[in-house]
Amino acid sequence: MRHRLLRLHALAFIKWRYLWTEEFVALLLALFVFAVPAYAATRLQERGLYMVSNEPGVTTSYTASFRYISPQAIGSVDMLFCVSPIPYEACVTPPGLDVSQATLSDQIGEMGYSILSKSTNHIILTRVPKVITSSDLSSYTFTNMVNPTDTTRSFSIRLRTHTTTDATGTQVDFGSIKGQVQTGTKLETQVPPMLLFCVAEEVTEGCTSTNDTYYANMGQLSADSTLIAHSQMAVGTNASGGFAITANGTPMSAGTNVIDPLATPTASKQGENQFGINLVANNDPAVGSNPEGTFANAVASPDYGIPNQYKYVPGDVVAFSPNVSLMKKFTVSYIVNSRPDLHAGVYTTTLTYIASGRF
């Protein structure tokens, strides 16, 4: 054992003596011992908020609950209402929120509080400082709280406990509670989300007119030629989540005979059974055109955006936008190839393009 320790020492401090010394390592260890935080505020636990009504802009009651952690004397609780829950970030008052008329109507657990001060987004609870003895959940109910009006963003209550009675000095514990108003009241100032979509053989970018043709004749199947067709669709949305368009429908078939769709992006090849689509301009064969519209958010899906490569998997997303998108027009190109031994028949399919918002 001693022999091993000597070898370790030799390896660590003799062979590498130019990199570190015993004195240096000792100093480093000493730093670890002394480098503890000056104070250690902990998070309040099981923090929660119950809003009796979470309709935007209404006057309602809030019950904020949490469990105190540090067994210290607590004389005040600071409640700051902000958009962001992060304590060190600047506090932006949630639009529409007003707690300046709040009344403390009920308290459970750690009690004896009253409201010391209140403003639009700030309440300070005070009491005679008392050591936290209970580990039970404490809750505080306030009436006359006016909800925020912005349904698109949540809001937060930044909590801090203090030993002082006026929420000054070093905080003891902290934590944030998240709340959100939802739906119900319609705000006249907001533009409701819309999704605009049209499909036809030819459409205008704004969907205001089409050529009212909802099918494509591709001609006579032959092993020596590629049948082509195209259709168009235009789409746009002001929804912040964007949109997605999927292509749905069975592959081309005549009775029980099916022309296999291309499961991966593949070049057109005469003499093979192939059915595929894409949404860009191609020259082999010459069909289709690139998406039209200046706005860059809406794009063809990667597998359907490769020139001269075709694919068709029912249910695939063929175009999407992750965000608001002005109107954009996509041209869908169709190609069909057939083997010489393909059974005779009229091969048809109906493709349904489904446009949806994103969640």
Partner: protein, 354 residues
């Protein structure tokens, strides 16, 4: 009588001739396939209560009426993004989060060219329904055309979410966090990167939702470079995107957001896009602080740390050149010292004595 017979025969002949000679027109009456719909609806409904609402559908086509059939289908997620996977098959099983039993819509609607129509819908939650999130989709389908090899049909979808308040199970688990390239992710690869030669424009975090409610986290990301400079991303979920039940969802947050106001159908709307944040090459450390929780439930917190190297090719070349230059300077100094100690042209190396 003979004359009558000849008239009938001629009429039949003309009719048959017309059938054979005239081009075959599509059999079905044509409906427009141009629509404007509401993409998403959210409701909070207590058990035993109902909500009556309206949906506005607009026929964008100025020439043809829009004939739509309506049906309610379930949906889930397609991948780690926000694209719904609609269960449109007639025999699709009902999901555990289905709103189908509680959602009433009309079966069809016809809208005149260029006009709008308001349809009534109702969501009715049974008295004993448990708390949680319920969602389904209303699919509006234009009729399929008869004729041709490829028939075309258009459908629009409204996603309907209903939240039933009460004590719910909430559990978001952080799976990944780091610098992210959306373009790489779109090709099917993981968009996360630890070492990159392109300036990262966004950070992302992937959360697994193991609860029985949809979640929409909020919070911030702090990004620190190797010299201690900090920048904070205050809104890490600007679109209020949801993680569906059972979904592992990736959220992206721009390091620098470029907001642009655009005109959409006569009204102003804001669109956001990531832009260059002007990051310098080097090592970056990021911390994530997320909050989530439903009304009346505990606020939960998720934290995470990540790091990445941004090393563009020009920077690597500059570093190599600088190192080579420094090595050359050292070599020249060593040679100078040799010359000073041993005189010019001395070949003896400066080796330590044994």
């Amino acid at each position: 009588m003979k004359r009558f017979k000849s008239i009938v025969l001629v009429a039949v002949a003309v009719l048959l001739g017309a059938v054979y000679v005239l081009p075959a027109a599509p059999a079905a009456a044509q409906s427009s396939a141009s629509m404007s719909i509401v993409p998403k609806k959210n409701y909070v409904i207590e058990p035993g209560k109902s909500v009556k609402d309206t949906l506005i559908i607009r026929n964008l086509d100025s020439a043809q009426p829009l004939q739509l059939s309506l049906r309610v289908v379930d949906f889930t997620f397609t991948d780690d993004g926000g694209t719904p996977k609609l269960m449109i098959a007639d025999d699709a099983p009902q999901t555990t989060w289905s709103l189908r039993p509680f959602l009433n819509t009309p079966n069809s609607v016809t809208i005149e060219p260029g006009a709008s129509k308001t349809i009534n819908i109702e969501v009715k939650i049974p008295a004993k329904q448990g708390a949680g999130s319920y969602y389904s989709a209303i699919v509006y389908s234009s009729g399929a055309s008869a004729g041709g090899n490829v028939g075309l049909s258009a459908s629009g979808v409204t996603l309907v979410f209903a939240s039933v308040p009460g004590q719910v199970k909430e559990n978001l688990v952080l799976k990944k966090f780091g610098a992210y390239d959306s373009n790489t992710a779109a090709t099917g690869s993981s968009g996360y990167m630890f070492l990159t030669d392109k300036e990262p424009q966004s950070l992302a975090y992937t959360l697994e939702n193991g609860g029985n409610v949809t979640e929409s986290p909020v919070g911030s990301i702090t990004l620190k470079d190797m010299f201690g400079h900090e920048r904070t991303i205050n809104n890490v979920n600007p679109s209020g995107s949801l993680a569906l039940i059972g979904q592992t969802r990736t959220y992206t947050a721009c390091i620098k957001l470029a907001a642009q106001e655009v005109d959409f159908q006569g009204s102003k709307t804001t669109t956001n896009a990531c832009t260059s944040a002007g990051l310098w090459p080097g090592y970056y450390h990021a911390t994530l602080d997320l909050f989530y929780g439903q009304n009346g439930n505990n606020t939960q917190e998720v934290t995470g740390v990540a790091s990445f190297w941004y090393l563009p090719l020009w920077f690597v070349i500059v570093v190599v050149v600088v190192l080579l230059g420094a090595a050359y300077v050292v070599w020249r100094i060593v040679n100078k010292v040799r010359e000073m100690l041993y005189g010019p042209g001395h070949k003896k190396s400066l080796r330590r004595r044994k």
